[in-house]
Amino acid sequence: MAQYLILLYDNEASWATAPEAKMGEMLAQHGRFQEQLAGMGAKILGSNALQPTNTATSVRGDVVTDGPFVETKEALGGYYLIEARDLDHALAVAKLCPVLDGGVEVRPVWDVNADAAA
C-alpha cells in the first residue's frame, strides 16, 4: 500500500455564496464518500477542511503578509490523506471525492524513509 494526498481545490466564491442547505448536502456527500472509500479497500489516514484563504497568513523569511501564498480562483480547501494500492486505486477514489465547483489533485506521498534506506 502507498500513501496519497488528495487535495481538494474549490472555487471559494462558490462556497461563499452557496446556500445553507447546499453546505449540509456537501457534508453529507463527504460522509458517503468516506464510506465508499472504505468499501473499495482504501483507508483514510487523515482529513480536514480548511478555513477560506481570506483567513490565511503567509510567511516568507521574516516578512509576514495577509493572504494565501499563491492567489488562485480555485484554492486548496481541504485534503484527504489516504492509503491505496497504487495510482489507479487512488485515482478511482479521487474520482468519487465530492467538490462543489472545482476538482482534486492526487499527490503521492514521498516515502522519505524508503529513499534514505535505498
Partner: protein, 438 residues
Amino acid sequence: MPLPDEAPGRSAPDGGTGADARSAVGDAHRREWALVLAATARVAGDLDLAEECVQDAYISALDAWERQGVPTSPGAWLTTAARRRALDARRRERTLRDKLPLLVPRDEADDMDGLTDPALAPEDIPDDRLRLVFTCCHPALGIEAQLALTLRLVCGLTTRQIADAFLVSEATMAARVTRAKKKIAAARIPYRVPEAAELPDRLGAVLAAVHLLYTTAHTDPEGAADLTRPDLAERAIDLARMLTALMPDEPEARGLLALLLLTDSRRETRVDQTGRLVLLADQDRGRWDKTAIAEGTALVAEALRSDRPGRYAIQAAIAALHSEAPSYDATDWRQIVQLYDVLLHVWPSPVVELNRAAALSMAEGPQAALDEITKLEQDGRLAGYRYLPATKADLLRRLGRYDEAAAAYEAALERTLGTAERGFLERRIAEVTTSRAS
C-alpha cells in the same frame, strides 16, 4: 541502448558467423524487444533495472551467438538471459528489496515466485507486452511522455532516435523519459492491464497514442523536404499489429491497424521526386502498395462486423473506399459522406465535419460544401486550423471565385510551416492569380 549494429569493438573472426549473429541480434531487437522487456520488468520490479538487464542481454547475445551460433528461439534466449540478470541484481539488493517500489503489486509478486525462476520454459513465461503498453500509455502521463516511453520501452528505440523523430534535442528527450519513469515509480503507476470496466477508456488512450505516433510521422513542423518519417510510421504500424494480435477481440485495435495500413499504402505517392505535396486526386494509384491495401481492406471488413463500429474502423472504411476507387472522380463519394455521418455520431469533431464537407463537395458540388464550411467558420472551434481555409480556398477555386480563393489560400499559408505544404499553397495562389487575370 546502443542498437546492436552500433555496439563497439565487435569484429567477426571469420566474417560469416559474425555477420549472421549481428543480423540475428538486429532482427531480434526489432521483433522481440517488447516481449523480452515486458517479461523482465516483472522480475526486476523496476523499469530502469529491466531496461538495463535487457540491454545487457542483447549485448551478450552478440558475442554468444557469434561463438555458439544463433539459438532456435532468439527471443527465449534473450528473455532467459535478461531475467537471470534481473534476478541476480535483485538478490544482490535483497536487503533493499522491500524498500524498492515494486511495479507489480506485492500480493501478485508473491504469487509469481514460481514465474521468477530464470530456467522457466519460455512458453510458460506470460506475455506481458500489454502490461508494458498500458503502463507507457497511462493517462496520468502527458501524451508526449506516453509516446516517448512507448518508443523507448515497447519499440526499443534509443533516446537519440526518439529525439530525432520528434525533432528535439537528445537532452530534452532524455529528461522527458527520465521524468516519466520517475513518475511511474513515485506515483506507483501499476504494471497491469486495466480491468474490464476501465478497459474501453484505457484502450482508447493507447490507440490514440499509436495513431498520434503515425500522424507525427506525416507532419513535419520543421518542414524537411520529406513529408513522412518512414521509420516512425513503420513503428506505429508494428505497434498496431502487436495490439491486434494481443487483443483479437477488440475491433478498434483491428480498425486502427487497417486505417494505418491503408493510409500508409499511399505513402510513396504523397510527395513527388522534388518533395512537392501530391493530393489524393493527383496521386498515381498504380503505385499504391497493393499488399497493404489487401491486408487493410480485409481488416476493415472484420472490424466493421462489430455491433458498434468505432472511430478507427469507420475511418478505415473511408480509406478503403478511396483505395478501391479507380480514380478520384470515380470514387463512391456518396458512401463516403454517409460514413462521415456515422463517424460524426461516434466521434463528434469539427475536423471530421471539415472532412465531410470536402467529401460532400465531390458528391453534391462545391456550393453545398461551402455552406458547411461557413457554418464551421462561425462555430470557431477550428480557428487556427490550416486545413479550414485550405479547404475553403479549394471550393472557391472550383467555383471560379478566384479573388476569394487567393485570400483563403493566403490565410492557410499563414498557418502552415512545412515546406512541402507551403510549396503547394504557393503554387495554388499563383494559379488562381493567373486565372483571375485571364
